[in-house]
Symmetry: C2
Subunit: 407 residues, 2 copies
């Protein structure tokens, strides 16, 4: 008998029939004697429809009222799922974020969870009831409704699992788990059966869409084991676990491709301490999400700093860089939107060298030119031309035999 | 400068354009310097759609979960209305029933309001914000969401007006006010400009649909002046006020017709004390809503009790009556579904006689036979054959010159 937190996404509860399916899955666990806390998202496209309605009324609605509006989506789901469980004889009770006091800060539309009061859930679990909790939403200290932003329902589930000290947190989605790379880009991509938080975090940040990095961060902080799996079948999915629970520390767990970034190079600026800090502080203040940063200094003591930013931030980045160069009194810049970032992630890199070499070799074999390189403890990223991005991804995927292994 | 509570029904906020209209109306009042608390219902058919969805999942959903589901309808409305006000420069803030702690008992789907905490509303009014409150919903002492049943949003508005000691409670609907009788049945029906609680209560109980009797009861208890009016024009509507505020106490304020009742006569039962009590207690236990009751005793000490019940309770009523007769050891019964109840209501009846005579005379002139008569202090009801119900209604309406007066 375990305490399991399950989370079902919007596709899994997309219509009344799917809600019934979810109820049947929950019953299966319930009948085995497990204690269950179930987090649900809004049904299918509910959130989009609510946003559309709001925009018709006010193109720039206040975040507080948007949260009041959007939180109804999950509230509908919890009520319907509780009814579906009741219908098949499983006692259940629904709770909004406010009702289980998922206390957050006051940052509407992107609130952070500060505390969860588990009293009421524990009380209901003792009475052998399945607790259905609305994902994505919380409440601030003044009882204003807040929402948690992207990946919010996953976050609710992981935070509840942490607060309840649950044995496992199952995240049900419409794919079978986390893959070695995007199966839509590389056919031979394989499902990863186990991965550690650090690896998952890097993959999530690099755009592997299944889990949001915030949930992984919280899971990692509280050692919550996440099981990412599909609600449409019974296949085992991907376990996300602490590093010490992984036997085989492979060199590369997964590879990713990003094609929505641009490279900016700022050249010929004086090699003076603090200049780089100045530039990146300016970018940070403008909320620009800088990914890779590479700096090189030539013999002439002149600096070149290259970095990548999301393509849709390029306009504002340009303005900042121009102002920066003007104030420095020297320099020039160059922008390339025609790039792709290919990354390899693996905890094994910590202790094994040679990963970079093998990666560059694989690219060289395919005649792919590397424009930028950046490494972290468990990640190597390279910038290549956009049109060879997919080819590069496949080459690296094959070089590390990710198409063969079953982790 | 007054404190005004306004309530807009589902039709008034039926789509995004109508919500914008409502916002403009509120702005008009706001710009005049009034403090405003606005109660809204769910948009148009939202509640029906939610019920339909629930029934697909569970034909007999638990009332608690139904309340969680249905309360989302009003929550959507308050958020959208707050956004619409914000867009036209009127500062506004939305509140769910839980957020302003409209405390109710635990009777889900038909909860009764026990207390309202006005602290938060008063605080926001002081900051010159319009407070938008979700109608129809409350919260019990354990933070479970409750709903107030039929006419619930009106009740929220009236209860808030009472708690805030508001100057007026405007109930916006899709008709111009309360009429002397149903304009769909009698073309010459006139809008009533002022009516007292007692009269309104009787008319509401007799099915004059504009206001629910529960709201009128609360208004009467706390002396809240209700103004029933249309949200689609600026015509003055009907004021519902304490009796002492009415100058002209007319004999008959309005007349009503009910055609969904049946008459049951129980004959030849012994004239023994307690027998009637026994019968009506049985009916009450089965939740049967008995309207008129008439008893007559013949020379032979045998009793006839006649009463009316809603047509859809006739089956269960029959069973109860049969069991009753069997236990008495004597008696028979007779059912007539082919009836109509026509009633005249007016506070002036308290002090003036002759109303009954005038009413019977009007019916006699039209050759309408009266089958049952029942009177209260401010009401006279007669049972006639169903096919002459409308004719009877019109005859009484004209006899008291309701087609002519403008109250």
């Amino acid at each position: 008998m375990s305490l399991i937190v399950q989370k079902y996404g919007g596709t899994s509860v997309g219509d009344t029939d799917r809600i019934k399916n979810v109820a049947n899955r929950i019953k299966m666990y319930y009948d085995q004697g497990h204690d269950l806390v179930v987090v649900v998202s809004a049904m299918g496209h509910t959130t989009d429809q609510l946003i559309e309605m709001a925009k018709k009324i006010n193109p720039h609605p206040k975040a507080r009222e948007m949260d009041v509006l959007l939180s109804t989506g999950e509230q509908v789901s919890i009520a319907l799922l509780a009814m579906a469980l009741d219908y098949i004889g499983v006692p259940a009770i629904s709770f909004t974020g406010a009702q289980v006091r998922i206390l957050t800060d006051k940052k509407h539309s992107m609130a952070r969870i500060q505390e969860i009061d588990t009293t009421r859930i524990i009380e209901q679990l003792k009475q052998k009831k399945v607790c259905i909790v609305a994902g994505f939403q919380g409440v601030d200290e003044d009882f204003n409704i807040t929402t948690l932003g992207r990946g919010g329902s996953d976050l609710t589930a992981v935070a509840l699992a942490a607060a309840l000290n649950a044995d496992e947190c199952e995240i049900y989605t419409d794919v079978d788990g986390v893959y070695t790379t995007d199966p839509n880009k590389v056919q031979s991509a394989k499902k990863i059966s186990i991965i550690c938080y650090e690896e998952m975090l890097e993959l999530a940040r690099l755009g592997a869409g299944v889990l949001h990095s915030r949930s992984v961060e919280v899971a990692s902080k509280y050692n919550v084991v996440i099981h990412v799996r599909s609600s449409f079948n019974n296949n085992p999915g991907t376990l996300v676990v602490p590093e010490d629970k992984i036997m085989e520390k492979v060199l590369v767990r997964g590879v990713t491709l990003k094609t929505d970034e641009a490279r900016i190079s700022v050249m010929d600026i004086p090699d003076r301490p603090g200049l780089a800090a100045d530039l990146f502080n300016r970018l940070a203040r403008a909320d620009i999400n800088v990914d890779m940063i590479v700096q090189s200094t030539g013999k002439d003591q002149k600096n070149t700093i290259s970095f990548t930013v999301p393509v849709d931030s390029i306009h504002i980045t340009k303005e900042i860089v121009e102002a920066f160069i003007k104030e420095m009194g020297n320099g020039s810049y160059d922008i390339d939107e025609n790039i792709a970032i290919v990354s390899a992630v693996g905890i094994g890199m910590k202790s094994h060298s040679g990963v970079a070499g093998k990666m560059f070799e694989a690219l060289a074999k395919e005649n792919i030119n590397i424009e930028m390189i950046s490494t972290s403890e468990i990640k190597i990223s390279v910038v290549v031309k956009k049109d060879v991005g997919k080819k590069a991804l496949e080459a690296i995927h094959n070089a590390f035999e990710l198409d063969k292994v079953q982790f």
